[in-house]
Amino acid sequence: MHQFEEQAEIVRQEQLAPEIFRLTLNAPQIAAAARPGQFVMVQTTAGYDPLLRRPLSIHQTIGNAQVQLMYKVVGKGTRLLSALTPGKTIQLTGPLGHGFELAGKDSICLVGGGMGIAPLYFLAREIMRTNTPPKLIILLGARTAQELGPLPRDFHDIGATETFFATDDGTLGHHGFVAELIEKHLVPENKWAVCTCGPHPMMKAVVGQCRKQGYECQVSLETMMACGISACLGCAVPRSDLSGPYLHVCKDGPVFKAEEVAWL
């Protein structure tokens, strides 16, 4: 197993939007092993409040030495994380779980919403680095243009030119839901492999669209999780037939085939 526990030094902490941060950490073992869609367990404090590490997907690796995370401040843990400054160190476990699997796909669409965009950037970058990149369409949704921060430019810079946006307030791209862009931009003649990550209702809508069109779909799920290494069994999700043993997001996922899991 290529999993590591590293004491990671903070290289950069950037505020991208009012509550959104991008954290760059020096973690060479994790960086060298990480694949798009995998996650790390991040210590937010050396104390006991909050007690547990936070699962965060890898936004990208830089030069096989650094791990970059993008996160939104949603509670005490992420608040403490956002206050950490360069030179400080935190414990990091990873890379964990299974990432996206796209070998041999020639038409790929990534659909991200909010912080769910974080791992899709890593994936898009890896796709664009291949010798003959497949057709790649990227659909990104957020509440506002401001919430997307530098992401539109980041995706453009890696050569993902067919990137389209949807915002709740209409400040960038389509005024509405990102799932609505699937019908608009994907020609049904292609055999699309769709990868999605974001809020549950958004992914549910994406999965619905894919089912309707017969597209293959991979989803990256998020749950409460104590350990990230399949010891606590806290991250259970029901299978699509609602029977049999539960799946566990940390080990069986976080990326699943959409048809494996229940969409309640």
């Binding site: 409040d49 606590c232 806290g234």
Partner: protein, 306 residues
């Protein structure tokens, strides 16, 4: 000075040090292979096993609380047959003692588990879970009633050639009563405490945060209660006591040993820091060297009261 001697004895079993891992927090050990030199641990207590596989509770199963967490996993496990066929091969090779935690709904289930596991090579002892508060039937009744606790201990001991450790529930009025009952039933050791029954509510939705409504509280938040109960139990029985409950650091472990525990189990700390158990082994060794303590027996029960 020589290396300090961390070895402890429970029944006729010698452990290389007093640091074990608590059931349900260390998987089947393999999960921790990337992080811990398993052979450095005193022993590993594996995830609780029932006769048949158990699916566990629906999510959400865990919630973080101040200095701790609530869990209602519902004893999800692969069941006895798959445990023996899929997990034991690996466990036989980890270079430390393997203790198998067992749980059941009836005396017969405990007996069958005890009997079948006695025939499996590579198991050092059984730890009997009579205390898990998560499953609606069984569990609670065994651990909270002295007569039932004694009966289940007797049943397991009668059907097993392995040393039997009984893991106590803290959700009782008088822990010493249960400890004595289990000793009378023939247990070679007791371990305590299991989780404390707790609850959390989401005030926005007004719904419980756990699908099971209630769950077991663990982590640093429960350490003072666990320490008090271990201290009380250690005075009440002659058999060795294994201390469990919020142990996160070397100092925590030493407190339990001073209170009278012969060994300790590291639980929730494994989730927070996968290297916690090994760090505690190393820390106890350093503490002994620094304080010129030759043998761990000089620490166990060393609480000074006057």
């Amino acid at each position: 000075m020589n290396q300090p001697d961390l070895r402890i004895t429970i029944g006729n079993l010698v452990f290389k040090n007093p640091v074990l891992t608590a059931s349900g927090t260390f998987g089947y050990a393999r999960e921790f292979e990337p992080y811990v030199s398993l052979n450095q641990l005193g022993g590993v207590v594996v995830k609780g096993i029932s006769l048949e596989p158990r699916r566990g509770n629906p999510p959400p199963r865990i919630v973080e609380t101040a200095g701790g967490m609530l869990n209602a996993i519902g004893l999800e496990n692969v069941g006895l047959d798959r445990f023996i066929s899929e997990k034991m091969d690996y466990l036989r090779g980890i270079g430390t003692r393997v203790i198998v935690n067992i749980l059941g709904d009836s005396l017969e289930e405990y007996q069958t588990l005890a009997q079948r596991l006695s025939d499996v090579e590579g198991i050092s002892a059984l730890e009997v879970n009579i205390s898990c508060p998560n499953v609606k039937k069984g569990g609670v009744a065994f651990g909270t009633d002295p007569a039932m606790a004694e009966a289940v201990t007797r049943a397991v001991c009668a059907h097993s050639s392995l040393p039997v450790i009984v893991k106590l529930s803290p959700n009782v009025t008088d822990i010493t009563q249960i400890a004595r009952a289990v000793e009378a039933g023939g247990a070679q050791a007791i371990s305590l405490i299991n989780t404390l029954l707790g609850m959390a509510i989401d005030v926005r939705s007004r719904r419980p945060r756990l699908a099971n409504i209630v769950g077991g509280l663990s982590g640093p938040a429960i350490k003072p209660i666990a320490l008090r109960m271990v201290w009380q139990a250690a005075q009440a029985v002659k058999i060795p006591v294994i201390g469990i409950g919020g142990i996160t650091t070397t100092e925590d472990a030493l407190e339990f040993l001073l209170a009278g525990a012969t060994a300790i189990e590291v639980g929730t700390a494994n989730f927070v820091n996968p290297r916690a158990s090994q760090e505690i082994v190393e820390g106890i060794g350093r503490y002994m060297t620094e304080n010129r303590i030759n043998g761990i027996s000089e620490v166990i029960g060393g609480l000074v009261l006057s």
